[in-house]
Amino acid sequence: MKAASFEYARASSIDEACALLREHGDGARLIAGGQSMVPMMAMRLARPSWLVDINGVPGLQYIRVEGDRLRVGACTRQRALERAAPASRFVPLLSQALQWVGHIQTRNRGTVGGSLAHADPSAELPLAACVLDAEVSVRSTRGRRAVRAGDLFTGPMTTALAADELIEDIAWPIWREDRVGSAFTEMSIRHGDFALVAAAAQVALDGEGRCVRANFGVGGADATAVAFPKLAETLIGYRLDDDVVAGVAARAVALLDPGEDLHASADYRRHLAGVLTRRAFCEARDRAIAQREGQIRQ
């Protein structure tokens, strides 16, 4: 349970980190919080020849609102984002998702960009990124490019990032409608463990309770987290009664291809995906409605 030998370099800027990744090629890996990377190295599932540490890079830890997006620096600690007022106010789904990420000790160290780069299909932040259609800014010595969350995850622990690319920033869209509600829920063996299946939903309602915008997704039930924007679009103009929600959840489940392991069969994961999607959707809807009532009282 000890990592194999490697060389270590501490980058002092994004440019230096990119240059180090380029110089050392495929054997080089970034380390940020290390909460997934170090266990993989301890179990020898990862054996990087070089580790490029970006914890000391200035300008990679920030949380700020810019127009209709919440911008988060890749090296921002999960715990910092969980406690940041702009996150809970403008992108509550993020705060809701973070409650389920590991434990306080791992969130104190784990980073937002690291969780996306690790691309665990059952992890919470990749699911939130897909449901919110977050935009990930990526840097390398070749320049900068933007990748949408839905295109970032290509398989279990696999992303569209090249070996020499680094996530710099994640832009989370802010929904500016008056009545927005969101919810995140999951089933795991114990709280803080990896999710067997997770579900997230966000809805915006008009004054009559009809859906004007929605998205939802499921994690842990396919090779990557999956969002269902096309299915969600079919809800626009409708009241999100329980049977409407159940219908769209069933259509989503039919599109999933869950794997099975020691902890859960594919059928059980499919079952969970349906139940949790309904719960997340109904909770998001109820929160959007409660928000309206709150405003009327004011």
């Binding site: 060389e7 380390i31 306080i104 104190n108």
Partner: protein
């Protein structure tokens, strides 16, 4: 080829400690084997059990999930650093004794670090907040009930003394 060692300088329990470490050496192994601070326990070595928890710049983290080289220039507090100036157990440690919150003691340093971090930030936690704070620490004697009691007891005693 052996990777080159790195010189590090870390404030541990209020004292500056210098060392030269190979990159693969974890922080917990450096604390235990080089500094002989064996209060911090090594359990799973992959971030599941919480026995190796330490305070890193004041926040509870797992010292098996960091390499010692990464602690250069930072501040680490181990369970040895939780005792009072006189070297005697503090209120939290006393509370663990009073409520019989340890049996084999393997998880205890991690539990103390997690509880200490909680009480620093939230002097009057609810039971749910206590359970959340130690949620990442496994006790295989299954004595969680007494550990929760100990932390609540310590919070009450500290409040009584007007320490917080």
């Amino acid at each position: 080829m052996t990777p080159r060692g790195h010189r590090i300088s870390v404030e541990v329990n209020g004292h500056m400690q210098e060392g030269e470490v190979p990159p693969r050496l974890t922080l917990v192994d450096w604390l235990r084997e080089e500094l002989h601070l064996t209060g911090t326990h090594v359990g799973c070595e992959h971030g599941i059990c919480g026995a190796c928890s330490v305070l890193f710049d004041g926040e509870a983290v797992r010292s098996c999930l960091m390499f010692a080289v990464q602690a250069d220039g930072h501040r680490v507090t181990t369970v040895e650093g939780l005792t009072g100036e006189d070297g005697k157990p503090g209120a939290l440690q006393d509370a663990f004794c009073e409520t019989h919150a340890l049996q084999c003691g393997y998880c205890t340093p991690g539990m103390l670090i997690a509880a200490h971090a909680l009480l620093e930030e939230n002097p009057h936690p609810t039971e749910a907040e206590v359970r959340e704070a130690i949620g990442g620490n496994l006790c295989r004697c299954t004595g969680y009930q007494q550990i929760v009691e100990a932390i609540e007891h310590a919070a009450a005693k500290l409040a009584e003394r007007g320490v917080r």
